[in-house]
Symmetry: C2
Subunit: 166 residues, 2 copies
C-alpha cells in the first residue's frame, strides 16, 4: 500500500481528464518538470496503484443496455466452482464475495431483457448456485469515479517539487 501525496492525486486526476496528454503536456498542466511526471507515473504503475488505462467502454452505446446486479447464495465451499462458472460467462462484468445473507454479488450486462433472463437461467441451472436474487439497473445515479475519494484524504505536500504549487 502506497500513500499518495497531493501531486500524485493531481496527476491521476489530470490523466483522467486529459487522456491523450503525454508526459510533456502533463508536466505543463501540473507545473512540474517532465522527468517528475514520468518518474511519478512509473512509480504509480510499479506499485500497482495504476493497473491499466481503459478504454472505458459505454456498454449501453455498444448494444448492452440492460444491466443487473445479482446476489448468489452458494453451496458451502463451492466458491471456487462458482468463480469458474462466473468467469466463464461473458455477461458477468465483475463479481465479489461479500458478507451478509448472500455470498457473491455480481454485475451482469445483457442486450435485452430476454438476454438477461437467459443469462440468469444459465447461472441458476449450473448447480452450484443455491439461490439468487436479481435487481435490474434503472438509471445511473452517480457515475463511476474515484477522484473525489482520493482527494478526500488530507494529503501532504510533495516532499520536494519546488515548481509545484497548488
Amino acid at each position: 500500500m502506497t500513500d499518495l501525496d497531493a501531486l500524485d492525486v493531481d496527476l491521476l486526476a489530470a490523466l483522467r481528464e486529459h487522456p491523450r496528454a503525454g508526459a510533456l503536456e502533463l508536466s505543463r498542466l501540473l507545473q512540474v518538470a517532465r522527468g517528475t511526471v514520468q518518474a511519478r507515473v512509473d512509480r504509480l504503475e510499479r506499485e500497482g496503484v495504476i493497473t491499466g488505462y481503459g478504454p472505458d467502454v459505454d456498454l449501453a452505446a455498444a448494444g448492452f443496455g440492460v444491466h443487473a446486479f445479482v446476489t448468489l447464495e452458494i453451496a458451502q465451499g463451492a466458491l471456487d466452482a462458482v468463480a469458474d462458472e462466473l468467469a466463464a460467462h461473458p455477461a458477468v462484468l465483475e463479481a465479489y464475495a461479500t458478507t451478509g445473507a448472500s455470498d457473491v454479488l455480481c454485475r451482469l450486462a445483457a442486450s435485452s431483457h430476454e438476454d438477461l433472463q437467459r443469462t440468469l437461467l444459465e447461472l441458476n441451472r449450473s448447480g452450484v448456485v443455491a439461490r439468487s436474487t436479481s435487481v435490474v439497473v434503472l438509471s445511473e445515479v452517480v457515475a463511476p469515479r474515484t477522484t473525489p475519494l482520493l482527494r478526500s484524504l488530507p494529503r501532504e505536500a510533495p516532499r520536494r517539487a519546488p515548481a509545484y504549487r497548488d
Copy 2:
C-alpha cells in the same frame, strides 16, 4: 447505439492490453493501416462507445482497502435529493437506481472499517434514506472486464478491410 464489427472489438481489446500503444503500434498489432486505426478510434469516441481512458486506480493499493455495497430505501420521490447526497460524498464510487425492494444500490470505499462505519452513519443521518443494508466485500471473484461480453456476440467481419484477416 452503434454496432461494432470484429475489428472494433479487437481494437478495444488491443487498446486495453497495450495501453501505451499509439496508432502506429495498434495498426501493426491488428494488421491494418494506421489511418484505419485512427478513423475507428475517432468513430468510437465520437459515438460514445469509448467514454474515457483511465487510469484505472487500484483503490486498495491507494489506501482504501475496504469496499462495500449498500442498498438504500428512500422516501417517495426523493431520488434527486439522494443523488445529490451521494454525489457529495466522496466515498461513494458509483450508485444506481434499481428495481426490487430497495431503490438505490451504491458502492463505497473506505480506508478502514471505522471509516466505513462513519460513512454509513453519515448517509443514514441525512434523512432522505429510510432504510439501508450493507455488505462488505471480502474478495474479488471476477475482476472487472468487458471484453468477453463484447466478444460474445457474433460479429460480422469488417465491411472492408482487405488487410484484416481473422
